[in-house]
């Protein structure tokens, strides 16, 4: 598995990127006043109000990001924290498993 794993991983990541990039180049009909690529969570909120126009949310968030820029910042922060931790972990593991790697290794490139 490990022989092809890097190539496979790159292919899989490329496929995931494509799956997200393609919709941007497709033509969509943004009907019903939906903004382009609006979030499904917000659309569900709108659907609730359509089904039950009398429904009033009975609780408000304690704090809301003051703008969509700040919201994006916090989402980016969330992703960075996660990705940073994973990167750190794999880096540590790789460093430690290196001697073993060359022992079991595919083609020992040394000598």
């Amino acid at each position: 598995m490990s022989k092809f794993s890097i190539r496979n991983n790159i292919l899989l990541i490329a496929a995931a990127v494509l799956l997200s990039a393609l919709p941007l180049f497709m033509s969509h009909h943004f009907s019903e006043g939906n903004a382009a690529f609006s979030g499904t969570d917000d659309q569900a909120e709108a659907a609730i109000q359509e089904i039950n126009p009398d429904y009033k949310p009975w609780f408000q968030s304690f704090w809301e990001p003051p703008s969509s820029e700040i919201e994006s910042l916090l989402f980016a922060l969330q992703a960075t924290l996660g990705a940073g931790f994973i990167g750190y972990y794999i880096g540590q593991k790789r460093k430690r498993s290196n001697p073993l790697d060359t022992k079991l290794g595919k083609e020992p490139s040394v000598q």
Binding site: M1, S2, S5, N8, N9, L12, I13, A15, A16, L19, S20, L22, P23, L24, M26, H28, H29, F30, N34, A36, F37, S38, G39, T40, D41, Q43, A44, E45, A47, I48, I51, N52, Y55, P57, W58, F59, Q60, S61, F62, W63, E64, P65, E71, L74, F75, A76, Q78, A79, L81, G82, A83, F85, I86, Y89, I90, K93, R94, S97
Partner: protein
């Protein structure tokens, strides 16, 4: 899949909180036990939580012209137990509810149930079934993660349809409406989540194979041997 703050009637909010609580409690105990028996797994717990942190922060465009996000709940469920992910997923959802006003405290129970209970159990079930049927591990991981993602959004649609049945068509009409918003948009994202989970799983299998076997992740090999 985040039901916004205050957008579930109080009785529903309470019921979903009650439904989720035992899974989260079990998950916390399970984490304590795992860390005690297997201290090396501590970092992998962090990785599982971190993975969900990353994926649930990414709002991706979909073919429907809407954006939604994956959940990242499949990985931790495969590596540990589904309830472990219930506990970790609760942390992710709390972070988003408090800092991002995404989801909420009143809807936390419902959101935990869809993302951190149903999703992980689907992932775990499919992965274990795949191992039993001797399906290649990579394929099992892909299916587990993708279907966990999708099942989370189907669950959200059910939750909303129960709370807001259509005045004419009732539960089913509402369910169709909400699942059109959520589930259809989610299909390509679920596939992406499957791919990315395979990537991280392959990487962990390569560098942390020892820990993964201690956690009995590779059931298949054990059955064979």
């Amino acid at each position: 899949m985040h039901i916004m703050e205050g957008f579930l009637p109080a009785t529903h909010a309470a019921a979903w909180t009650a439904a989720s609580a035992p899974f989260v409690v079990h998950g916390v105990r399970s984490i304590q036990k795992t860390v005690k028996e297997n201290p090396e797994a501590k970092m992998l717990l962090g990785v599982s939580g971190a993975f969900s942190f990353v994926l649930s922060a990414l709002k991706l465009p979909s073919v429907t012209g809407s954006s939604s996000h994956p959940t990242g709940a499949g990985l931790g469920a495969i590596l540990f137990r589904p309830t472990v992910m219930s506990a970790l997923g609760t942390i992710v959802l709390l972070f988003q509810a408090l800092l991002l006003a995404h989801g909420g405290i009143t809807t936390l129970g419902a959101n935990v149930f869809s993302m951190a209970v149903v999703g992980p159990f689907v992932a775990y079930g499919i992965y274990r079934l795949g191992q039993r049927l001797n399906i290649p591990t990579t394929v099992s991981v892909f299916l587990a993660a993708a279907l966990a993602d999708l099942s989370t959004y189907v669950t959200t649609s059910v939750q909303l349809a129960l709370a807001f049945p259509d005045p004419v068509g009732g539960f089913m009409a509402s369910f169709v409406k909400f699942s059109t918003i959520f589930a259809v948009t989610q299909i390509p994202l679920a596939i992406s989540e499957g791919f990315i989970t395979v990537v991280i799983f392959n990487t962990l299998a390569k560098y942390s194979g020892h820990e993964l076997s201690l956690l009995n992740v590779f059931h298949k090999k054990e059955v064979k041997a």
